[in-house]
Amino acid sequence: MRFQMKLVGTIAAAFAMGSVAAETIKVGIIAPFSGPFAHYGALFKAGAEGYVANQGGKLAGKDIEFIYRDEGGPNPANTRTLAQELVIKDKVDYMGGVVFSPNAFAVAPVIQASKTPFVVFNAATSDITTKSDYYVRTSYTLWQVTVPMAQHAAKKGIKKVITAVTDYAPGVDAENAFKAEFAKQGGEVVESIRMPIRTTDFAPFAQRIKASGAQAVYVFLPGGPPNLGFVKAYNENGLKAAGIEFLGTAETDEFDLQKFGDSALGLTTAFHYSAAHDSPANKVFADAVAKVNKDAVLNYATVGAWDGMAVIHKMIEATGGQRDGDKAMAAIKGYQWESPRGPVSIDPTTRHITQNVYLRTVEKGAGGLMVNKEVQNFGPQVDHGLRK
């Protein structure tokens, strides 16, 4: 296995070295384009193509050719194969995408050997960027958004919190982040519930949360059906009425938000991007994405891809279109720009995005649509998971 990997790496490196400055820059994007997670692929595509279109179709004077590959679902072996093909067969200059952390980990040896910069648009496990020098991440990590939330809860005078997370890697990450920071702030996590990933009936957990005597519940759930089920259970089992505060992160993400109906009103979350973020950059982003795909939702996936292309733009500029992974990576360390989510920069040591995290409340905006209204800015946050 290891020998094979080495061999592939050598071949990949040989190909990578041999190329000269090209007029067309090839960007390989690995994302789910089929199956239950296909909407991520569509949003990445809209975000990335929207960015290029907004720059007039060229980045630093070079044409951009996107090559899309379908990661399908959490499937590391398949994702590594796709990355190898992109490097060896398609000879891409840059890669981006990946929704699932295990898939992101799997491509590390490929990009390390071929020195191909890889921009992670979504996968949010902290230590991904430590696995190769050619990773840079424009999404977020659970530590990054959870730590300010824990500080906020403590500042509000909340003493007892119960955590309820979905029982898989990001959920456990979220639970650890909240527990660690909340204890540091002098609060107490009275109980930690890990909910099985195939849970559909959340009423039992709602009852346990109610019985725990906590003043607030810190929640982490993967997007889609579980979010809706949990929020319904939170309302209908009287947790909201009992004043148990909802502390979440991506649960009120724009992709599902309209589906919640009134049950989402008043939910508080800490997150780095809201479609309701009031800035000129966000307007430009919204208009550009709508031109590429009028159905695309503006959320963390779309903005992750948009900013991912901003990073690649910078790398193309720095290398003049030459394939030079090291030079490209050096250029983006510390790079600052104005993102649709506010001012951001790439942390030179962790190669993870430093960004503002906001406290938001779900409200009814113009036209009766639900929005994540930003009510407080926690200021620039690094990835607290990597920089403990």
């Binding site: 296909a38 029982d167 009936d201 009852q207």
Partner: protein, 288 residues
Amino acid sequence: MLLLANILIDGIAYGMVLFIIAVGLSVTLGLMRFVNLAHGAFAMTGGYIAAWLVREQGLSFYLGVPLAVLATGLLGALLEVTVLRRLYRRTELQQVLFTIGLTFLFVATANLLAGPEVQLIPLPPALSHAVDLGVRTLPAQRLLVIASGLLVVLAAYWVLNRSRFGIWLRATVDNTAAASALGIPVQRVYVLTFAVGAALAGLGGILGAELMPLEPYYPVKYLVLVLVVVAVGGMGSIAGSLAAALTLGIIDTASKYLASDWGSLFFFLAMAILLAWRPQGLLTARKA
């Protein structure tokens, strides 16, 4: 004590949803001897139609839901007449392969028409508030689910055991040729039974949407649960399906209250034990 009450209340509500969806499959599988793995697709279809009628078309919940159930039944009848009818005499493997294929067709169609998002069926005010039971509050929707489940049990029992149609059905599946010779409209019996099975699945999909959210992968996701209920309950046994659904629902709920770290281990452990104890199903006395 409160914990026990909580487990029972939530477990019964969950079990009833499983029952309403599973009972139709139990009838087609046990009585008609037709392996219909597309059953979950009918549940999803019912839910999607209800969501479309109530949310998009603005129909009232009380009108939209019966219409959706009816439409699902009609779709079932249509499929029976056009394709499924030809499969009754095929081997079980062929039935399995065809209906699984049909399931994926439904998944793709739902994805194409409505996108990958979850579909919600807006509840009327009377059902969306919480009812105070003294020990705790319970969403009124769950009470509707429990009541509907009981009604389905009674109605199905009466139809199968007391009505003329029930006699026809049993005669038809036991010996089609003889039933036909006696003047029983065999084909019509099959169509009707299949349509009712599909309609019940649709009802389960609608009422259960709060617990099993409607999305394109619904038929694949929940098929296992439904099959487990039918297997444990015994094919064709209404009372058995009810007993199995409630037992498994309560066990699964109890494990969420007491040992959530173990995931769905206890659900499947219970299934294995029950099947080892009564391989023909909980309440099936003899023969298969």
